[in-house]
């Protein structure tokens, strides 16, 4: 059984293409265009993995993580998936419980799907790239 994935991403193209790839690979998937919608989807969809962008309108990734941590005792696996280059923000979100930071431009949908499968099969061990 593959994990449920929530994609919190403001870029329409990336959100659409990754959601399509995850569906093709058999992952149950939901998506949100910002952190605020993302929190609603967490409550409704109860994902096991969240792919989280950092720089988004309305509510960014860092604020989303703060809210998530405040609302839930046990967090889903959060992987920061962003093109942002801000070491302080990345450090902050990692301290809040994110499992890894993946630079979006280094990945393809195929590779992300493969890494997420490995992550799920490997019991949550994941490398920051």
């Amino acid at each position: 059984v593959l994990p449920k994935i929530l994609l919190v991403e403001d870029d329409d193209i990336i959100r659409e293409i990754y959601a399509m790839k995850f569906e093709l690979e058999g992952f149950p998937v939901a998506s949100a265009e910002n952190g605020q919608v993302g929190l609603v989807k967490v409550a409704e969809f109860q994902p096991e993995i969240i792919l989280l962008d950092m720089m988004m309108p309305v509510m960014g990734g860092l604020e989303f993580m703060r809210e998530l941590k405040a609302q839930y005792e046990v967090l889903p696996q959060v992987i920061v998936f962003s093109n942002i280059s801000a070491p302080k923000q990345v450090d902050a979100v990692m301290r809040l419980g994110a499992k890894a930071y993946w630079t979006k431009s280094d990945y393809t949908p195929d590779r992300v799907a493969e890494e997420l499968s490995k992550l799920w099969q490997g019991g949550g061990s994941v490398q920051t790239t």
Binding site: D11, I13, I14, I17, Y18, M20, K21, L24, M54, M55, S82, N83, I84, S85, A86, P87, K88, Q89, K104, S105, T108, P109, D110
Partner: protein, 436 residues
């Protein structure tokens, strides 16, 4: 504020100078007055001794007379020449003249007595001329001493006024200096605040530029990768070929964006090294493997030489991957088809040397000093023969410098080029080094 401080300080210096001049003048007047009193006192002593001698004829009584006369003779010239102003000088010159006349009269009396003329000697005392001389001496002495006392009083008043002025100016000067110190400190704080704002702006720019430039290219990359994986349906051979060309162009675009962002980070002082311990020889082999296909596409020969034993370093592996990769990529670009490239890693005198030697077009001697400049392109590249943004060597050299190393280059036009990246084997301090 600086002007006020300068004026106040200058005024203080002038006031203190004036105070010193007045003090010297007052001291001279006082010395003159005391000296004058001593001279007149000695005249009195000489006269008393002379009277005793004239009355008794006892020569032993001439000893105090002679002592007093000697003292007067010695002291009188210095009083007249003392530095006390023209009017006082004239008064004392007259007084000197009268004193000299008095001494002459006393000497005359002594001389007559010594010659046995006691009556003649007594007459010199009782004569009208002597009485008149005594009166003149007394009157002039009083006049000169009054003038000196008046001058001393004026000098003392002047000193008091100048001292008060110096005190006031010193207070103004002190306040101005205090104000200046506060102003300088305030400007210093403002400068620090500006620098912090600038630092934040640089951070925000690099962060925003990174996100905004990468995101569209990442979207294209995602779509192309799914298309070529036939996630949207099968492609024919021609479609697959051009899809792969599109992926290559997209990768080049992302690489250029990455290089531009790294240049922005270097310029903003934000390229931070994250050092770990790893084997540099393994990294070099990995880079060679990564680029082997591109090198083979130009039918070039790549030789990799590594030491027999692992060569551990403490450095930023990702940044060195980029820097050494840039050197190798540069060699591939500027070496013609079927040329040779050698990538050698070793250690010399405790430093790591990574040599990239090619049999390429070489670099003109005049151009060598510019090859590590940002956006510098060799002449071949400018003719459109070589792709790239002119940032690879710049970043490689900056990354080497951040590690405390350097890149040396030697080249022969038409024969080839050798780049040597020299790196210290490193310690944990490298971890926190940045591009500042």
């Amino acid at each position: 504020m600086i002007g006020v401080t300068f004026i106040a300080t200058t005024a203080t210096v002038f006031t203190i100078s004036a105070l010193m001049v007045n003090r010297t003048g007052a001291q001279a007047h006082n010395d003159a007055r005391v000296g004058l009193e001593e001279v007149l006192q000695r005249v009195g002593m000489a006269e008393t001794a002379q009277r005793n001698y004239l009355l008794t004829g006892d020569s032993s009584l001439l000893a105090p007379y002679n002592t007093a006369i000697a003292g007067i003779s010695k002291q009188l010239p210095s009083i007249v020449s003392s530095n006390t102003g023209a009017s006082q000088q004239a008064g004392r010159a007259n007084l000197k003249s009268l004193v000299e006349k008095k001494l002459a009269e006393l000497n005359q009396g002594v001389a007559l007595r010594q010659a046995g003329d006691a009556a003649g000697a007594a007459e010199t005392i009782r004569s009208g001329a002597s009485q008149s001389l005594d009166k003149q001496l007394a009157a002039l002495t009083s006049q000169v001493q009054s003038a000196e006392s008046a001058q001393i009083t004026r000098d003392r008043n002047s000193i008091t006024n100048l001292a008060a002025l110096a005190r006031d100016i010193s207070i103004v000067s002190m306040l101005a200096t205090l104000g200046l110190t506060v102003l300088v400190y305030w400007l210093y704080l403002k400068a620090i605040q500006s620098e912090r704002r600038l630092d934040r702006a640089k951070d925000e720019f690099v962060s925003l530029a990174s996100h905004q430039l990468r995101t569209p290219a990442t979207g294209i990359k995602s779509i192309l990768s799914m298309l070529v994986a036939e996630d949207f349906g099968p492609l024919n051979e021609r479609q697959t070929h051009f899809m792969r060309r599109a992926i290559q162009s997209n990768e080049r675009e992302l690489n250029i964006i990455e290089e531009l962002l790294n240049v922005a980070k270097v310029d903003a002082g934000r390229l931070i090294l994250h050092a770990t311990e790893f084997n540099i020889d393994e990294l070099v082999v990995s880079i060679a493997g990564e680029q082997r296909a591109a090198i083979a596409a130009k039918r070039q020969e790549l030789i990799v030489r590594r030491p027999k034993h692992p060569l551990p370093v403490v450095a930023d592996e990702e940044k060195l991957y980029m820097a050494i990769g840039n050197l190798l990529d540069n060699a591939r670009k500027y070496t013609p088809n079927s040329g040779k490239i050698a990538l050698t890693v070793g250690s010399h005198h405790g430093a790591v040397h990574i040599d990239v030697t090619d049999s390429g077009v070489g670099i003109e001697a005049a151009e060598i000093k510019n090859i590590f400049d940002r956006f510098h392109r060799a002449s071949d590249a400018m003719n459109g023969n070589v792709e790239g943004a002119g940032l690879g060597l710049y970043l490689a050299s900056r990354i080497a410098e951040l590690h405390g190393g350097a890149i040396e280059v030697t080249s022969r036009l038409g024969k080839g080029t050798k780049f040597v990246m020299i790196l210290p084997q490193g310690d944990r301090r490298v971890a926190e080094n940045s591009a500042r």
